[in-house]
Chain length 345, copies 2
């Protein structure tokens, strides 16, 4: 479709624009490797690329800026990996050594590391609820009317919550609950903790509704809860595109809508890495941004999703290199030294 030189011109424009945030002129990219020709020739190529929709002008006599179609082509066909430096590799390795007790923290560390290296904002979220299986449930009486419920999932996450009752409970009751819940739920997806279960326990098993209802309500809540974690919000404000108050406000609005973030990360299942450029984002509010999402897993255990939010001219190459490296590193590390991960044969 595009001949070699056009590809080269497009690539040069995208990369130059990523670097400078200024419309790229024919002069600016002339004499780059593979473009040893006059500016006039490049202008001709640019005119055609524009006609095809890969680049556009900001005004009639301006330089060119990549269109979303242009970015998309760049990402799909022209992207070169391995833009990660030795220093960065060292920094990442260092960060990932941090000993964590809860796997959830690992996603946050990955998220903050990405943000620090790329200088974009990252947002992270735990694994999707419907892929998590219950490995064990534990009820512990804290005081006569207060109980704690702990749920261990097969991917090593721990969810705990406190449940209060209007009447005293006995150790005996707690033991029965322990047995009953484990018996019923072990190996089931955590989403099974829901109304029907409450109904079953009350109607069929004849438990007191006063006992069961708060348990189900509270456990359901903690199971469904999406903890969205943000990192590096201020960094984007250093970018030249944030000199427009409009864009800045828009961005702050996005960050304030945690559910919107959660939604964004939960969609787009197909691949581990997904790239949404501008209008490709489902959310109207994100149409001036690009988002790269990264499904973060160890072995076959989903550990959550990380999203990188940046301008449309984000350094896709860098972002993807970093993500791939982190993914690799995590799997290398946790292959050996994770105690609680189940041995797979």
């Amino acid at each position: 479709m595009l001949d070699e030189r056009k590809k080269r011109v497009l690539q040069a424009i995208v990369e130059e624009y990523i670097k400078t945030a200024e419309p790229v002129s024919s002069n600016a990219i002339m004499n780059l490797e593979g473009l040893e020709c006059s500016s006039a020739t490049i202008r001709n190529e640019m005119a055609e690329l524009e006609k095809m929709g890969y680049i556009e002008k900001t005004h009639i006599s301006s330089g060119r800026v990549p269109s979303e179609k242009g970015y998309r082509f760049y990402v799909d066909e022209l992207l070169e990996d391995d833009k990660i430096t030795v220093d960065e590799i060292e920094y990442i390795s260092d960060k990932l050594e941090t000993k964590v007790n809860e796997l959830e923290d690992l996603t946050q560390i990955a998220s903050s590391t990405i943000s620090e290296i790329t200088h974009y904002t990252t947002v992270s979220i735990g694994p999707n609820t419907d892929v998590q299986l219950i490995e064990n449930i534990k009820f512990v009486l804290l005081s006569p009317r207060m109980m704690m419920a702990v749920i261990l999932t097969d991917n090593g996450l721990v969810k705990e919550t406190i449940i209060k009752f209007d009447e005293d409970i006995t150790e005996n009751q707690v033991n029965t609950l322990n047995y009953m819940f484990n018996n019923k739920l072990k190996g089931e997806p955590i989403t099974k903790i829901d109304k029907p279960l409450e109904k079953y326990l009350v109607d069929e098993m004849k438990y007191s509704v006063n006992l069961i209802k708060p348990i189900i309500v509270q456990m359901k809540k903690v199971v469904e809860e999406e903890k969205v974690h943000l990192e590096g919000t201020k960094q984007l404000f250093e970018l030249p595109e944030f000199n427009s108050l409009e864009v800045a406000k828009n961005f702050v609005n996005i960050l304030d809508e945690k559910e919107l973030m959660a939604d964004m990360l939960n969609n787009g299942y197909a691949k581990d890495i997904n790239i949404y450029i501008g209008e490709e984002n489902e959310k109207e509010e994100l149409k001036d941004f690009s988002v790269v999402t990264f499904k973060h897993r160890i072995g076959n255990k989903d550990l959550g999703t990380i999203g990188i939010i940046g301008p449309k001219r984000m350094d896709y190459s860098k972002v993807i290199s970093v993500m791939k490296y982190i993914s690799k590193k995590l799997n290398d590390n946790l292959g050996d030294n994770s105690d609680d991960s189940k041995e797979e044969k």
Copy 2:
């Protein structure tokens, strides 16, 4: 010091400026209640108020803006309470009805309610660590190498954490730990969980350091951890002062520094409500803002602190009314229906 009319003029200027964010001219406040005189008279008063330092001009022929001294006088002497509407009262009552299982959530609900009503940004934090006493500690074995520690404090908060070990642990060991920690720490401030305790347990009581160290490390971490919670960040961006990119950036930077926020809230002990206007803030970064902090408690139990961050021309009256009402409401509500609060005679 200030005669009645001067007070009235100052009050009018402050309130008008709070409303419009524009320098206030002599014309604008003439004919307000208590100011039934000509603009020339008001100009004379303004000239004197300016000489005394209560108001200032943005340039030689502009209207007047309150100085920080002016705001301070307004807050100390001129503030009228009860600027809260019936609708707002209803909204607050409604929000505070939400049933919470963890007292921590209550501070967040209060915080978000304040933000929604005042349209300023709020930031909240749990109670200061050194006022919290340990009521009970519970260790629960989750798997051979994973234990959960739960700390109940006298003000009804629950802190829990997971501890991992490099070797298997027995139920017996957990029971001993339970007995030992409770015996040693019940009634003590949570800050007692620290190095010296580790030393004592290992050296004197001859516990294995492999067992004790991770416990102390992890519990200390969760005890010291300050969970800063932000609410309504985007709202401030609607204010006219945020049309300056400088201010906007400044603000985003502040929000990104969670420890700064925590510091801010932990200082200023004296009163339950503290007001810091502009330069009165200890933090350089906050010198263009006003902060109102609100120590939130039920009975004599400290439940955390909420800070309201807004422009210097924030609607102090509204903010304070809302806070007072919330405080009252919480105490009314939780006087009766809180099950776990200890009965005081």
